[in-house]
């Protein structure tokens, strides 16, 4: 493993690999090695030794971190200023990893429940420095909230899984932590009614920042006996008190609501964020599906018919499913996502399935040609994480 301690080290490692045409696996701490397709390379280039926070400007609502900085270290730093990462990136329970790097989270564009109200990781990525597959260091974006100078290459890097270049440093927009968090919870709803209730909540003027549904198996995994439909509000304490009451009133046609206080809410939403409600067995696969919210319930039904269990976040727009890592289950997930005009990711599975099957939807031919040219623009020798997103 090559793990440079400075930026030039990334450029020269990539340069050498490009000259020798030997592909590299790009990673941080390796926590997401189970996502998508495995790479088969001679060497690994890791950001793990390139850590630190060169800039934290609370009044400007920004933080700059080197890619190898752990999520925990970034969060600890922000905690000092009473601030947090807006997209509340998950630390998935099924990763079996103690921590992740901030570079890895951005490269995978991972966002938690707040995505529905405040945007994804990519929405808060303001600037990057990266070593491209040409062994060149480039900057894109910057440290200001609004920037339309030239092509926004930052966005391409968010969600690119290290296939265009190695992000070496990144600047994120951050926000003050809310004073309080409250949750309106309705028990016992069926999936269709739950999504309808969440749609009413998200269509209300009360700034709902989390909207999830846990069917019975998922609810039981986090200590409830029956299904729960939950909507979160984060703000100043007085606002949270007022808005949760008002929201419970608005939702009363769906059933009586409980209101969870700040500590109970924080615990529950951390679990939802980290996919803890998934009833995962050893050897099981995990899929993530992004759809229009009103199709979420139908995906749960289709999953159930294929022997899979899961839950809904993002008002129904994000479906987690888990179950046996079989070709049939995989095909069922793809079919359900396709029927709903949504997209899917294979987040965990034994290597056999990840090598033999697609790990995300194939790209239509017109876009695939552009994709190929874009990859070549950054990594002409094709040495960065080949096969990670799509079969090479």
């Amino acid at each position: 493993m090559i793990a440079p301690g400075d930026e030039a080290g990334f450029a020269s490692a990539i340069d050498a690999a490009a000259a020798a045409r030997t592909p590299l696996t790009i990673e941080g701490l390796g926590s997401k090695g189970g996502f998508l397709r495995p790479t088969q390379t001679a060497d690994t280039l890791s950001t793990r030794n390139f850590a630190g926070i060169p800039l934290y400007a609370p009044q400007e609502l920004i933080i700059t971190a080197r890619a190898g900085t752990t999520l925990a270290a970034v969060e600890a730093k922000l905690d000092e200023g009473g601030q947090h990462l807006i997209a509340e990136p998950p630390q998935y329970a099924f990763l079996d990893a103690p921590d992740q790097t901030i570079g890895g989270i951005v490269a995978a564009n991972l966002s938690g429940p707040r995505r529905i109200a405040w945007g994804a990781m990519r929405d808060h990525l303001m600037g990057i420095r990266a070593a491209t597959g040409r062994g060149e260091i480039i900057r894109s974006g910057g440290r200001v909230l609004k920037n339309v100078t030239g092509l926004d290459l930052c966005k391409l890097f968010a969600g690119s899984y290290g296939t265009l270049g190695v992000i070496t440093e990144l600047t994120l927009k951050i926000l003050p932590k809310p004073e309080a968090t409250g949750t309106v919870m309705i028990r016992g709803l069926r999936p269709d009614d739950a999504v309808r209730a969440l749609s009413v909540a998200l269509g209300s003027p009360f700034s709902v920042s989390g909207a999830a549904y846990l069917p019975q198996e998922a609810a039981m995994a986090v200590g409830f006996e029956n299904t729960v439909t939950i909507a979160r509000i984060e703000d100043f304490a007085a606002s949270v008190a007022y808005r949760t009451e008002a929201l419970a009133g608005l939702l009363k046609k769906f059933g009586p609501a409980d209101i969870l206080d700040t500590p109970a809410s924080l615990t529950l939403w951390r679990a939802v964020r980290d996919a803890e409600p998934l009833p995962i067995q050893p050897g099981d696969a995990v899929w993530k599906i992004s759809v229009r919210p009103s199709y979420g319930a139908s995906i749960l039904h289709a999953g159930h018919a294929a022997g899979l269990f899961g839950y809904l976040d993002w008002g129904g727009g994000l479906v987690f499913l888990t179950g046996p890592a079989t070709d049939e289950a995989h095909a069922a997930v793809i079919a359900a996502a396709r029927r709903a005009k949504g997209e899917w990711w294979l987040l965990r599975a034994p290597e056999r399935l990840r090598l033999s099957e697609d790990a995300m939807p194939r790209i239509p031919p017109g876009l695939a040609a552009i994709r190929q040219r874009v990859v070549a623009a950054f990594d002409p020798a094709g040495i960065l994480n080949p096969g990670r997103m799509f079969a090479a």
Partner: protein, 487 residues
């Protein structure tokens, strides 16, 4: 003066054939070739630059756009996409050898879905038109550029437009779920959809803000949001820019993210007050407009806290709006700022750069010094929450020396923005206006990487040529090397 590329002689020689080809595609509708009728298209919001295009085509469907682009691609004809023509950076400035594709006839709201909170609209729908279509049901489309009454969503995609409310709700890129994009080869791509996250690369992210360099957006799926229970604005006036800047920092550090936080300096206050009679304090050096939202009780509480914070900075005056009418008056002054400055100066250049907010006092001081040095007045209007400056440089276009000085002054301000850690443009785009300054912000390696991405979408560089990237003969990259500069 900004130079434009030499037109392709072979294309000019085929003018009639190009016109005929376009008419055949458009079934004789919506093709403009008559010089008198082309006149309105010769410039955009950067009216100092004018150029008659080869033709203007007004497509009505995505398929029209695809057929036109395919034709232009096959015939090596350059294309300039155009929305409402409100670009202040010359983003829609025509070229003599280019076909302008005007999107204004594609102005239909295709679908509104409240349950999933999105709307599908054609590129020629105005920004405000989206909100108008959903506001009766309590919803709105969040990004709100000052030109929102006129500017079109397709242009907003091109420039990744923002506005006063971005601090809370983000810019265009944060509010778009899907784009139907037509490539120069005439291929129709569906990027994103009606869901939040898309597998693979973030194509929406690279297309939004690409200034028509990568394709033409014909249909856009935007997120619509439920409007808050109410909003209310307040004014806080100070006797110095520095103290007003410190007050902005204190508000944000307190955990309050106002829905808007606008900063105006003394010349801007005076110009806007003379125009809108909004009750702005004329004895102030700097003024903040702060807007909050929520229920009436929440507004009271938040404005009360903000008043307490402002009070720590010895304000000259604090005025909390007591009604929707008073709030509207406060915004009328701000939203009318460009028109207001137009009343006190024959012409003005509206600059657009972004700075780290901590450098605000330094930047305003340096702009003041430059104003004295150039002998040109400047009014500063500023999205203080996000560091987006809009200095309005006043000059007289009938005096070439004055215009030349104004442009040099503007360039100095933008270089200053980059020097303090900001960027050349926050929301207007690079267009032709800032094209030659790109080297101030980017290294040649960085520019070359952007050019390669442009080439991946548009290998022959036919789309909005001569915008965004500095013209440079003799490089190895596709595109610009084929663009000899005008003598």
């Amino acid at each position: 003066m900004i130079s434009l590329p030499k037109p392709k002689a072979d294309v000019l020689a085929r003018r009639d054939a190009v016109h005929q080809g376009l008419r055949a595609i458009m079934r004789d509708r919506g093709v403009i070739t008559d010089p008198t009728k082309l006149k309105p298209y010769e410039t955009d919001g950067l009216s100092a630059y004018r150029q008659m295009p080869l033709a203007v085509v007004l497509p009505e469907t995505t398929e029209d756009v695809a057929a036109i682009l395919r034709f232009c691609h096959e015939n090596g004809v350059r294309v300039v996409p155009r929305g409402a023509g409100t670009s202040l950076a010359g983003g829609a400035l025509p070229l003599e050898d280019a076909v302008v594709i005007g999107m204004m006839r594609m102005n239909r709201i295709v679908e509104v879905n409240y349950r999933d909170r999105y709307a599908v609209v054609q590129a020629g729908v105005t920004n405000l038109g989206i909100t108008k279509a959903v506001e009766a049901d309590g919803f709105f489309y969040a990004p709100d550029p000052s030109s929102q009454l006129a500017c079109m969503i397709g242009g907003n995609i091109g420039m990744n437009s923002g506005g006063a409310h971005c601090l809370k709700y983000g810019v265009t890129a944060n509010n778009v779920l899907g784009i139907k994009l037509v490539t120069i080869e005439g291929e129709i791509l569906e990027l994103g959809g009606t869901h939040l996250d898309t597998a693979g690369y973030d194509w929406l992210g690279i297309v939004i803000g690409s200034e028509g360099q990568l394709g033409i957006a014909t249909e856009i799926t935007v997120r619509i949001l439920r409007a808050p229970e109410g909003t209310r604005a307040m004014l806080a006036a100070f006797d110095g820019n520095e103290v007003a800047g410190a007050c902005v920092d204190a508000i944000i550090s307190s955990g309050i993210i106002p829905v808007a936080l606008e900063f105006m300096d003394r010349p801007a206050i005076h110009a806007c007050e003379a125009f809108a009679h909004a009750g702005y304090p004329l004895d102030a050096e700097a003024m903040l407009i702060i807007e909050v939202e929520g229920s009436v009780a929440e507004q009271d509480w938040l404005l009360g806290r903000i008043k307490e914070i402002c009070a720590r900075f010895n304000p000259i005056s604090l005025k909390v709006s007591q009604s929707a009418e008073e709030s509207a008056a406060i915004w009328k002054g701000r939203k009318g700022a460009f028109g207001a400055v137009g009343r006190i100066s024959p012409d003005y250049l509206c600059m657009d750069g972004t700075i780290p907010t901590s450098t605000l006092p330094l930047v305003l001081r340096r702009i003041g010094e430059m104003s004295a040095q150039y002998g040109l007045q400047v009014a500063n209007i500023f999205h203080a929450g996000d560091g987006n400056l809009h200095p309005l440089i006043m000059f007289d276009a009938n005096d070439p020396a004055s215009m030349h000085k104004a442009e040099a002054f503007g360039a100095d301000i933008l270089c200053l923005c980059v020097e303090v850690g900001g960027c050349l443009t926050g929301e207007h785009g690079v267009g032709v206006e800032k094209r030659d300054l790109m080297r101030v912000q980017f290294t040649e390696i960085e520019l070359e990487q952007q050019r390669r991405v442009k080439s991946a979408f548009d290998p022959e560089w036919l789309l909005n040529t001569a915008k965004v990237f500095p013209l440079q003969p003799g490089t190895a990259s596709a595109g610009p090397d084929a663009l000899p500069q005008a003598a």
